[in-house]
Every structure is written in C-alpha cells, then in structure tokens.
C-alpha cells in the first residue's frame, strides 16, 4: 500500500496500466509541476552538493579547488581508522547512539500516550506547552544551564549539601556524563517529539473507543489495544529516520556538555571532527569522517527497513 502511494507521488505510473511516462506526464502535468520545486530543492541542495564528497578522496586545498587538488585515494579514511583514539570515539559514539535509541527515543511515545489520557483540556494544554518550551532553547543555553545547575552553589549541589553530602562537580566526572547527556536530551527534546504522535493519536477513529467502551474495556486496555497499536506505524517511521543518523548524535549537545575530563566517555566523531577538522581547516579529512558516518547510517536504515517490513505490513519507509 505504502509502495503505491509513494510511487504515485514520485514519478512512476500506477502499476496497473502500463502507460508510458510521457503520456502519464501529459495527463497529470499539474502534479508534475507541483512536485517540481521539491525536485529542484533536492537536486540543488542535496544531490549536487553530494558531489562535493569527492574531496574525501583528495588532499583538498581551498586555493587549488576541486579540480586542482591532488587525489589521495583512501588516505583520509586510513588516517581516521589508524587514529590512536579511533576505538574510543567509535565506542563513545555507539554507546551514546544506543542510549539515544533505547532510552531517549521511547520517551515521547510514552509521554504522548500519557498526555492523551489527560481529559481536562486546559491542564493538557498547559502541560504540553511546558514540555515544548525547552525545545526552543539552543544547546548553548541549555549547556550553560546544565553547567550552572551542577556547579558549586548550583541546584544540584545545594540539594546534596542539604542532605549532608559533599559538593560534587558532576560535569568533570566521567560517570556522570552519560546520565547528564540522556536527561538533558529528554528534557529538551521529548516534549517536541510528542507532536507527531499526538497528531497520529488524534487521527484514530473515535468509534473504536466507543465500541470498546461498550464492550467493557478499561481505560488502560483501550490505551494498550487501540491507541498504541495504531500509532506504531508513526513510531516505526520516526525510528527509521532516527536510526539513519545513528552515528550523528548532534554535535551541539555533546560539545556544549563536554569537558576534557569527560573526553574518555564523551568524545565522539562530531566533536573530534570539529577539533581536528573544522578548526584546523582540514576539509578532506572532515568529509571522509562524515562519509564514514553516513555509510554506517545508510546500512542501518536499510537493515532496519527490511526488518520493519518483515514484521509489520505497513512498516518500512519504502
């Protein structure tokens, strides 16, 4: 089903009648014109720039340009893999990626299910607004807040001191980095993540609830047997989209929470690339790392898409 929908929107003719592309275009030309800006956008801003990835295989110099720079084959990729701390940044990226998918991703789903059960509209709106707001703060601000909260004289240490515990500078403790990473992302992003799910929930046919209520289903049973199964396709889609950027954790968040004392658990590809690539203007190397991350992302998306299609009729992105 999804297949047919997507294809119609894109370019291929509906599978039933074997009409040629040209006659199809003639017949449905307004739709083709409608899709044109999107196609131009993707070509101009996504596909053509992708050609720039070739600098990953060059010793790119700004002054020589694409054409004049020397080709070096896989040298930049080799440099990445032989980097002494490669294992460390790779593990850190994987662990944080895993935290993101396993611990952070389900929170908006749970949150939206809970929000949906709030029957007082005013209360619901207030809660929604309250959980959305942090999303609009930048990580620079949130990072500053986190540092202040965990600093000497911050909320965290005031509470510790109140209970007679010593001041603890959590931001320079290795063991605190991951919990802080997880909690701060949930605080900032989870509220916003509920938007899509709440939309999916509001699209559920109310008669389903009515009939199940007549059959004596409890509130919890309705949530479990109606709401949850019906938002699964939305969950799967979002999951697949996020798995594609499994290794791209969002530079801003980690960078703004990182200190040299937490490098051992928090130094990831993005921060490494920033430090040795962007700052030092080593563009080829940076691109090579980006390409490496994307390739792994692509493999993950393809694998999980296949799995999703296997276990759910409507699952999968394509």
């Amino acid at each position: 089903m999804t297949k047919g929908k997507v294809a119609a929107v894109a370019s291929a003719p509906p599978p039933k009648k074997k009409t040629s592309l040209i006659s199809n275009m003639k017949k449905y030309w307004p739709y083709y014109v409608m899709v044109l800006p999107g196609v131009i956008f993707f070509l101009g801003f996504k596909y053509i720039p992708m050609l720039g990835s070739m600098i990953a295989f060059q010793d790119y110099s700004v002054f020589k340009g694409f054409v004049g720079s020397d080709w070096v084959g896989l040298k930049n990729f080799k440099a990445l893999i032989t980097y002494p701390d490669f294992i460390r940044i790779f593990t850190n990226t994987l662990v944080l990626g895993l935290c993101k998918t396993v611990l952070i991703f389900p929170i908006p789903v749970i949150l939206s299910l809970m929000l949906n059960e709030v029957k007082n509209l005013k209360v619901k709106k207030i809660i929604q607004t309250a959980v959305y707001v942090p999303y609009f703060l930048s990580w620079v601000i949130v990072g500053g807040l986190v540092f202040d909260i965990f600093g000497v004289g911050g909320l965290f240490n005031n509470i510790r001191n109140f209970f007679g515990l010593d001041t603890l500078l959590a931001m320079q403790k290795e063991s605190w980095f991951r919990p802080i990473y997880i909690i701060s992302s949930i605080w900032k992003e989870a509220g916003w993540g509920t938007v899509v799910y709440l939309a999916a929930i509001s699209g559920i046919d109310p008669s389903l609830y009515e009939s199940s209520a007549i059959d004596g289903a409890s509130r919890f049973a309705r949530m479990k047997h109606i709401t949850f199964p019906l938002i699964i396709p939305a969950v799967l889609t979002l999951f697949l989209l996020s798995i594609g950027s499994f290794l791209e954790l969002g530079f801003e968040q980690v960078y703004n929470l990182l200190t040299p004392m937490t490098y051992s658990v928090g130094d990831i590809f993005d921060t490494y690339v920033y430090r040795v690539g962007i700052q030092q203007a080593r563009y080829s190397f940076t691109t090579a790392v980006g390409l490496f991350q994307s390739t792994i992302g692509l493999i993950l998306v393809l694998t999980f898409n296949k799995l999703a299609k296997k276990y759910s009729d409507d699952g999968g992105l394509w």
């Binding site: 014109v33 131009i40 563009y283």
Partner: protein
C-alpha cells in the same frame, strides 16, 4: 474536475512563486553583504582616492570599525588608508578561527589579519600570503627598523620552503609578560611575608582560605586557581621550571635536549603538587570548569588570592575589583618560587606569536596601501596616538593632556593597531600606562608600572622561543594539546592517580609526539648554527 485542476494550478503557481522569491531573497542578501565593503571601496576611490582595507583582529565585544566611522577616519589620518574591520566573535580564538577559515574558503580573505593556531604555515604554502621580504625595507622602513633583526630571523625560519622569505609580522616583547599575581593587601592584613619557598606559599594559601582576608565574614576565599584546560595557572607550573605559555606547554631544554615541557618529569611533579592543592581545597574546585568570564568574575569579586596574568594589566584587574566590591586591592607580582630540587621561573619568549599577515595580491594599489598601514604601525612617533585612539571615544582631554578612558565596549570601536603593546619593551609599555593616569586611577597605574618594572628579573628565555607551528604538521591533536589537557585535568582533580602520567607520555609519543619532537629538535639544531 475542472475546478480541481484550477485549484491545482493556483497552488502550483503559489509554490513556484514562493520558491522563487525565497531564492531571490537569499541571493539578494548574499550579494549585499560583500557588496557593503566592495561598494565603499568604489565610492571611496572615486571621492578621495583612498583605498579601503579589511583588517581582522581580536575583538572581545567592542564595536566594529565601520567605513566613515570615527576610528576609520582616525586611521585614515594616521596611515592614509581606510581600514574597516567587521565584528567577529573572538571566543578564545575558536570562533574567530572558524569565521576566518570560512572567509578564506569563500575567497574573501581579509587584507591584513591576525592568524591563529598556526594557520599561517598552510597559507604560505598555498601562496595565499604576500611575500614581504623586499617590500618591508623599501615601503615600510619604520616597521623594518622597529622590530629587531633577531625577530626577523626567527620569522625567516618559518618559511616552509626553507628560502628564508618573510611572510609574517611578529609580535615582539623583551620581557616576560605574565606572572603569578598575589593580593599583597591580604598578606599585609594577615601579617604574612611574601612567600619565598613552596612551603611558605602553601601556608599562605591555607591562611587565605581560613583567615577571611577579604573580611566579609564568609569563608568564600579561593586561594588560587585557573581556567579550564589547565590554562592561566602557570605560576604553579613555573615552580617546577616548566616552560609554559598561558597554559600551553612550550619547548625547552630538559636533560640536555629540546623537549616538550608537558612530557617531562618536571610536569609529573608539578601535577602531583597541584592535585594535592586541589584535594586540600587550596585551588578553586571549579578551576577546570572555569571559562574566562567565570574566572575573571571570581577575581573581580574579591575572592581570589593568587592568580596568573599579565603584569602590565594589574591596574585593570585592580579597578575591576574596586568597581565591583569597593575594596582597593594591592596586586603584586609574586617572585617565582622554586619547588625543592627545581629552578622556578616565569617563561619568557621574544615573541608572543604572529601579529599580522597580508593577503597575497597583484593589485599594486592594495599592496601599497597595506605597506602604508604597516609603516605607520611601526612608526614610533605614532605609537602614543594609536594607543590613545579617538578623542572623545577612547580618550579625553584632562588638564591639557589626552588620557585613555577605561574600556567601554558599548561606545568604543575596536582598536586594531596597538603597536605599543605588540612591539613592547618595559619602557614603551610604561609610557603607555602613563597615558591612563588620572587622579582617580593613579593608584592602580602605579601598581602596574611597579609590577612591570620587576618582570625582567623574573623571566627566563626558553630554548623553544619562536618555534614554528609547522613542527606540529599532521598532528593536530598534539598541537591542540588534547591529550595533555585531558590527563593534566584528570590528574589535578584526582580522577587519575599520578601514575597515569607515564601512560600519558607513552600515548603522546605514540600518537605523533615522537615525530613532532624530532621536527622540533631539527628546527632547534638549525637555529643553533
């Protein structure tokens, strides 16, 4: 059906229109930005035949230098060239470097700029910088004379082609700039003498912590400390004879050979000492989390006993303490202390780095303009004027003499050319300080002048003076001192035991330190000839 088609058409129309206008808005903005400087060049050239140059320099929050503004006109009078300088956030050099790279990539390199983090080597290699070797003596003789020959020789050694061409203007200084600065008024209050040994120093810190020298009834004193990445606490490293520049380990002779000071036994002992201070609470617990604003805020709020900074700006620090708390501090440079078995000193280098580079161009008019600016910059007769800046903005007339006003970022445009501090001797800087003196500031100026006068005897010129950043080539993590900062921070905070230091040295050597050391020693051997 027809109606649907019509609606579809309208929608398509709206979408394409919005897409087009969206695009054109974007491009319009792009062309207007570089246009603003480009346009001024044209109109300037038409009107008075002055050439405008774009200059980039550190700007920590002052106003940009705009075409036609007060500072623009001031510079035009002094140099005969119009200078504009956009506001670029400095952020410890990080944001500046990113923005500068971006400009270079897009082919809009500023005409004259301060390079950071060794970027100049790559630029020279790519022919992006102007060869100044013959131009300087001919067209900027004042600058050529103002900077000593030895400094030019160091710059010649930076030429990656080995031909000894000059591509950079160095920053020159003939005394150690920074030292540990102690609250003499606190010492006096507690009846303690200036510490001379490490033991005395630690006892002073203990007294600062427990005896409430700032007299506010709270134990809020921070005996000493520094900033994140183990920066700005060199006074603690210096006790162990470690060559250190604002937290950046330097090269000096250890065990008879040029060595990176971070991987020496001296460093190991220093870190152990610091971890003990940290554990005892004698160092700011937030030392390794403090950013610039955080640490300077603590100093200004009358809490810090000993900190590391420039001797010649103690007056500014004193004023900020006075303005924030009403306390009139007496800040004095602490003579270097030697830890048992070591010879302590404050690191001296003849150059704080590269001050300016000039964009390579064939445009003779631009070259001449750049040389005019550099000549005026090197002209000692103008140094005072450059320092005082615009009357009514940076300085005001007091008793018939121009006096520099205290910094006010809201009203002052960013002074780009500061030859008096860039090419400095104790005398030249003292003279500049005298330009600040008013009845209100006399007490703090005296302090700076006295501190400055003592600096030469506290310093030691390190062997790695003027080492080019090219020795780090291919090893960005070593140049960034990533590994060092990580281990040093964790050892100081007690996360790692001192035994981990040996692991650090091993890792450092394995991750490129060995090659860097080799390159550094080769450079040193060459300079010794």
């Amino acid at each position: 059906m027809k109606r649907n088609k019509l609606i579809a058409l309208v929608l398509v129309g709206v979408m394409t229109l919005s897409a087009l206008t969206g695009c054109s808005k974007g491009t319009g903005k792009e062309t207007s930005e570089p246009g603003s400087t480009g346009k001024t060049e044209e109109s300037g050239a038409e009107a008075e035949k002055t050439v405008d140059l774009e200059m980039w320099y550190i700007n920590e929050g002052f106003l940009e230098v705009k075409k036609g503004g007060a500072l623009y006109n001031f510079y035009k009078d002094l140099t005969g060239v119009g200078i504009v300088s956009p506001y670029v956030e400095w952020n410890g050099g990080t944001t500046y470097q990113e923005q500068l790279n971006l400009k270079i990539v897009s082919g809009e390199m500023p005409d004259i700029f301060l390079p950071v983090n060794g970027m100049e080597v790559d630029l020279v290699k790519n022919g992006a910088l102007l060869d100044l070797t013959d131009l300087l003596p001919e067209k900027a003789p004042h600058l050529w004379e103002s900077i000593p020959k030895e400094a030019w020789d160091v710059i010649r050694s930076y030429d990656p082609s080995g031909k000894g061409r000059i591509y950079m203007i160095p920053n020159v200084v003939d005394y150690p700039v920074s030292g540990g600065i102690i609250r003499q008024d606190w010492l006096d209050k507690l009846g303690l003498p200036m510490p001379k040994t490490q033991e005395e120093f630690v006892n002073v810190l203990r007294a600062f912590k427990t005896q409430d020298p700032n007299g506010n009834g709270q134990a809020d004193e921070i005996p000493t400390g520094g900033r994140q990445e183990a920066r700005w606490m060199d006074h603690l490293f210096s006790m162990y004879g470690i060559a250190m520049w604002e937290g950046n380990p330097q090269w000096d002779i250890y065990d008879g050979e040029l060595t990176y000071s971070a991987v020496t036994k001296n460093m190991k002992d220093a870190l152990q000492f610091m971890s003990e201070l940290y554990k005892e609470g004698l160092m700011d617990q937030e030392t390794l989390l403090n950013d610039k604003a955080g640490w300077e805020g603590k100093i200004a709020s009358n809490q810090v006993g000993v900190y590391y900074h420039w001797a010649q700006t103690t007056n500014q620090k004193a004023e900020s303490i006075y303005n924030a708390t009403g306390a009139k501090p007496n800040l004095v440079v602490m003579p270097p202390i030697s830890a048992p078995g070591y010879e302590g000193f404050y690191t001296e280098q003849k150059s704080k780095g590269i001050q300016w580079v000039v964009k390579n161009t064939d445009d003779q008019e631009k070259i001449d303009a750049c040389m005019k600016v550099l000549d005026a910059y090197g002209n000692k007769d103008l140094w005072q004027k450059f320092f005082l800046g615009v009357e009514g903005m940076h300085s005001e007339m007091v008793d018939g003499k121009l006096r520099r006003l205290p910094d006010d970022k809201k009203t002052m445009e960013n002074l780009l050319l500061q030859p008096g501090t860039d090419i400095s001797t104790v005398e030249s800087v003292t003279q500049l300080l005298e330009n600040i003196r008013t009845d209100d500031t006399s007490w703090s100026v005296d302090m700076s002048v006295a501190n400055l006068a003592k600096m030469p005897e506290y310093g030691k010129l390190i062997a790695g003076n003027g080492i080019p950043s090219s020795v780090y080539e291919g090893h960005p993590d070593i140049m960034n001192r990533t590994l060092y900062v990580e281990y040093a921070s964790r050892i100081i905070t007690g996360e790692y035991s001192i035994d981990k230091f040996d692991e650090f040295v091993e890792k450092w050597n394995a991750s490129g330190g060995e090659e860097v050391t080799k390159a550094a020693r080769e450079w040193y051997a060459k300079t010794q000839q």
